[in-house]
């Protein structure tokens, strides 16, 4: 697309002024001087964009980055034609979801035949695959009175893929002594010896201690440590207050929670633990196929994080977060915008559960389950949830990504409030894993798994 730019109005006016004043004042120098602006006007009028032949190549540095990591991108545009281009402006087509965190995807240069121009920048990666658009190129002649805007399709990398699940097992040293079971302190049938007691009629013959009967002629029954098959329920807190980021372009608290849950789900499925997954706070339109009738997004995935149900739920969290951050961008909100919401009214004074999410969640939980809550703890909701769970004797673990790390005053306040909430979480008896975003997620995961199975 080529268009003319009218940028010599002032020179035209200057020409006319000089000619007029030169004639009026009978000044030959002024009259002759009109040739100078006129020269510019004529030069501009005859200037045309030269025929250009450009090649581009893009390189994305990291093949499979972790969400939140900066990924360096390098784009090289080469003038393969035989004419010099005095003014070439290049803008790389970054996926609109990704945010540039370093450098600029735009540059310009004067390219002789064979010369090339390299644009280097870094984007903050997000979960998923994002395709780059073609590179926009704008060429002007020397007088800049015409602009040609085209696109160039770069060779090389055309997409940034941010994989959630790494292929190697990250939790090698997390010992899982009883996969999928929870040892209890009561005697019964099982594998591990617990106690002996007097025989009672009806006890299984196989559990009678025959050696002892042979020695003492008394019937005793051996009890083993009773084992319950438990379900691990992963609760992702994706309510609107959690959809804030520590800095622009970084994944939101909800996305980080979902990411941690995905990693843990993967590890659990490798260890054959029966796990359920639920996300709280999604809207009907966020999830493909909609929510369950009780307003929760609940899946019992077969096959861990790779299962289609689990993926659908994680995608739902991501689309909710994207929808919310788009709205926040429009209103100029930042990380502290949604933090102020407090959890007052979640539980009323007489202990009645008020919050609909909380009520539905408690109703849906199986009677024997251990619960892992993933929440950035930006309001009182996770504390109320953990309190309610502990009151119903659910073993509870809270994994909390810290999105309050920032220099601003509001972020400092939010960080202090979050710290207080984490303390109250520990006070109600929940196991707490505070995930500092500077550390890799595997450290937090390792800690949470160890906590989960050391009971």
């Amino acid at each position: 697309m080529t268009e003319r730019v009218r940028r010599w109005g002032i020179a035209v006016a200057g020409t006319v002024t000089l000619v007029s004043v030169g004639l009026l004042a009978a000044e030959p120098a002024l009259f002759a001087g009109a040739a100078i602006p006129l020269a510019y006007v004529l030069f501009g009028a005859f200037a045309r964009v030269p025929a250009a032949d450009l090649d581009a190549e893009r390189t994305v540095a990291a093949a499979t980055p972790t969400p939140g990591d900066p990924v360096e991108v390098s784009l090289t545009v080469e003038n393969t034609g035989d004419r010099s281009l005095t003014d070439v402006r290049v803008i790389d087509g970054i996926p609109s979801e990704l945010r540039v965190v370093e450098g600029s995807p735009r540059d310009c240069g004067s390219l002789r035949p064979g010369d090339s121009l390299t644009v280097e920048y870094a984007v903050r990666s997000k979960r998923g695959t994002y395709a780059f658009d073609d590179t926009a190129v704008r060429i002007r002649p020397l007088a800049a009175t015409e602009v040609a805007t085209t696109t160039v399709e770069p060779d090389g990398d055309t997409a940034l893929t941010c994989a959630n699940v790494v292929s190697e097992v990250p939790l090698a040293d997390a010992t899982l002594p009883r996969a999928g079971t929870l040892p209890t302190d009561s005697g019964g049938s099982g594998l591990e010896f617990h106690a002996t007691r007097d025989y009672q009629p009806g006890d299984p013959v196989s559990r009678i201690d025959w050696r002892r009967f042979a020695k003492t002629n008394e019937l005793t029954t051996v009890e083993y440590r009773e084992e319950q098959a438990v379900r691990t329920v992963l609760v992702v807190d994706a309510r609107p207050p959690t959809r804030v980021t520590p800095e622009p372009g970084y994944p939101t608290g909800a996305e980080l929670s979902a990411y941690a849950a995905e990693r843990l789900l993967d590890a659990l499925s490798r260890s054959s633990v029966v796990a359920s997954l639920t996300a709280v706070g999604l809207a009907e339109e966020d999830l493909v196929g909609g929510l369950d009738p009780d307003g929760l997004a609940w899946v019992d995935p077969d096959g861990g994080a790779q299962s289609p149900q689990a993926n659908r739920l994680f995608d739902g969290v991501q689309s909710a977060a994207a929808r919310d951050s788009a709205a926040a961008d429009a209103t100029g909100g930042n990380a502290t915008a949604g933090v102020a919401a407090d959890g007052s009214g979640v539980v009323s004074d007489d202990g009645q559960v008020q919050d609909p999410y909380l009520r539905r969640l408690l109703a849906r939980l199986p009677p024997t389950a251990q619960v892992v809550v993933f929440s950035p703890a930006l309001d009182e909701w996770p504390v109320e949830l953990a309190t309610s769970l502990r009151a119903r004797s659910y073993p509870t673990t809270v994994v909390s990504p810290d999105v309050t790390g920032g220099e601003q005053l509001g972020q400092s306040v939010a960080a202090l409030e979050r710290q207080l909430r984490l303390e109250s979480l520990e006070l109600v008896g929940a196991t707490l894993i505070d995930w500092n975003l500077v550390d890799p997620i595997d450290i937090a995961m390792r800690a949470s798994l160890a906590e989960l199975f050391s009971r």
């Binding site: 000619v19 030169g22 120098a29 040739a35 510019y40």
Partner: protein, 532 residues
């Protein structure tokens, strides 16, 4: 202002350098450095004032700075215009013969226009740094400058008017202002507060009573009584009091026409007869007693004061400190200017008169000193200096307002306002310098500079918006600037060729040559239209 419209550093530097160099060379060729320097400083300060007026984050501080800068800006602008004319008059006058007068006046005006153009160019170039001039900032700067002007100008005019009235009072046999005002006041207070107790004075009394009732009702409504009072009985009581006040005021207002009738239409005797004498006396003593009237008056005063305070407090609570500061800052600056003027009025005035008297040529100097002495004696130094400061501030206000209006007309684009002003002003400066007769080299050089300032500035602004000043931007800009300089060189060569060939042709005084030139001009214009 959006930051994406910020021009690149290289182009800004080129624009500023080219403008400053060209303006300096042209002004030096004219030979008025002192007023031009003052004007240049004023232009830079004006740019700074526009910039600070546009601060969004520290609006109060920005507005205060912008307001305080109005005075030096005004001084600079006055120096660049009136100062230049005075200095040039000292150099060019007196003329040896009357026949040279028109030429000298033209030369003087042209040189003054060169200085004005140079000052405008400096302003444009300064404002192009960071692209701070747009409609919003110009409007804010004009507003703060206007508010700053108000107090000194009004005070100065009041002082001058007071001096004139004093003179009228002393020289002719007319009553002074004080006497007239006193008479009016006395008449009003008599009617309102202490009427003679010979007959009932219902009208003024009822008006006072009605206003007092209305004001009390409004004040009760404005005060946060219902918020403070807890419980329904208290609220109900307040409501009933307000209702009673409303009906009371309605009744009293209905009585006013009767009062007018009894006061001004019915004669005293007839009134006394129609009423019984006892009732007449009672009415007379009630409506003319100063006590009740004073109570009513003070009720009105307290009620209005309460209303004002409540309104002010509501406003203050609803707006931020920065906003209040931004509203008050210009007036504070105006007060500062007034205080400063009061302190330094005497020495400044005598120094100014001495400078003008010494600068003016020939016998104008002593005559000016004589005349100004009489004027100073008549008005007093404070009134004169205060008015002069007010006028100087007014000049700054007019300049900023003119800027804003120009931007409103969209002849200047917000994006390239600075370089547009710089370039147009340089064109004007060069044209007038050409009229005065600077050397051809300087003239052609300034014309190239004038076009280049626009070209490089506009190019840099577009580049800044599209790319944002990356590493490759500087090279591209330098390539562009060099290329365009070469085009200017070609133009200058052509101009030199035309000039050397055409000197003879143009100096011939004949209709045919002029006609031919007009035809050439028309042809050029037609060419341009065709090219577009």
């Amino acid at each position: 202002m959006t930051h994406t419209d910020r021009p690149t550093a290289t182009s800004t530097a080129l624009v500023v350098l080219a403008t400053l160099a060209t303006a300096t060379v042209l002004v030096r060729a004219i030979g008025v450095s002192m007023p031009a320097t003052l004007g240049g400083v004023g232009a830079v300060l004006l740019a700074v004032a526009v910039w600070t007026a546009g601060w969004d984050r520290y609006r109060a501080v920005g507005t205060a700075l912008s307001s305080l800068l109005a005075l030096p800006v005004g001084i600079g602008l006055v120096a660049a215009t009136i100062g230049t004319v005075i200095v040039l008059a000292g150099v060019l006058f007196p003329v040896p013969s009357l026949s040279q007068l028109p030429a000298t006046v033209i030369a003087l005006s042209a040189r003054a226009m060169v200085v004005v153009g140079a000052v405008a160019a400096v302003f444009g170039a300064t404002v192009a740094v960071g692209n701070v001039l747009d409609r919003a900032t110009a409007k804010r700067a004009a507003a703060s400058s206007f508010k700053t002007t108000l107090l000194p100008l009004v005070l100065g005019l009041v002082l001058v008017a007071g001096a004139v009235l004093d003179y009228l009072q002393s020289s002719r046999d007319v009553p002074g202002v004080g006497a007239v005002v006193g008479d009016v006041l006395r008449a009003v207070t008599t009617v309102l507060f202490e009427p003679p107790s010979v007959r009932p004075r219902l009208t003024a009394f009822l008006v006072l009573a009605a206003v007092a009732l209305i004001v009390t009702r409004r004040a009760l409504g404005a005060l946060p009584l219902s918020e403070i009072a807890t419980g329904t009985p208290a609220e109900r009581a307040i409501e009933s009091v307000r209702r009673a006040l409303f009906w009371g005021s309605v009744l009293v207002s209905l009585g006013i026409p009767i009062g007018i009738l009894s006061d001004f239409v019915v004669p005293t005797r007839q009134l006394r007869n129609s009423l019984s004498p006892a009732l007449f006396d009672l009415l007379t003593s009630l409506t003319t007693a100063p006590g009740p009237r004073a109570v009513l008056w003070w009720t009105i005063v307290v009620g209005v004061a309460t209303l004002l305070v409540v309104t002010l407090l509501r406003r203050l609570v609803q707006s931020s400190a920065d906003r209040i500061g931004a509203t008050l800052a210009p007036f504070a600056a105006g007060t500062t200017v007034v205080v400063g003027t009061t302190v330094v009025a005497d020495p400044v005035l005598s120094a100014l008169i001495d400078w003008v008297a010494d600068t003016l040529p020939g016998e104008f100097g002593p005559r000016f000193r004589e005349l100004s002495g009489a004027v100073v004696e008549f008005y007093g130094p404070l009134a004169l200096v205060m008015t002069a400061i007010g006028v100087v501030l007014l000049v700054a206000t007019l300049a900023t307002t003119a800027l804003w209006l120009t931007l409103l007309t969209k002849y200047l684009d917000d994006r390239t306002a600075g370089v547009g002003i710089a370039s147009a002003a340089l064109f004007q400066t060069a044209a007038f310098a050409g009229v005065v007769g600077v050397s051809t080299t300087v003239l052609f050089g300034s014309l190239i500079a004038a076009v280049l300032v626009w070209d490089v500035g506009e190019f840099g602004t577009t580049l800044g918006r599209e790319i944002g000043g990356g590493s490759g931007a500087r090279r591209t800009e330098l390539v562009h600037a060099t290329g365009m300089l070469a085009v200017g060189g070609v133009g200058a060569t052509a101009a030199l060729a035309i000039e050397s060939d055409s000197v003879g042709a143009i100096s011939v005084s004949g209709g045919t040559v002029v006609l031919g030139l007009v035809a050439v001009l028309a042809g050029l214009l037609a060419l341009l239209v065709a090219l577009r």
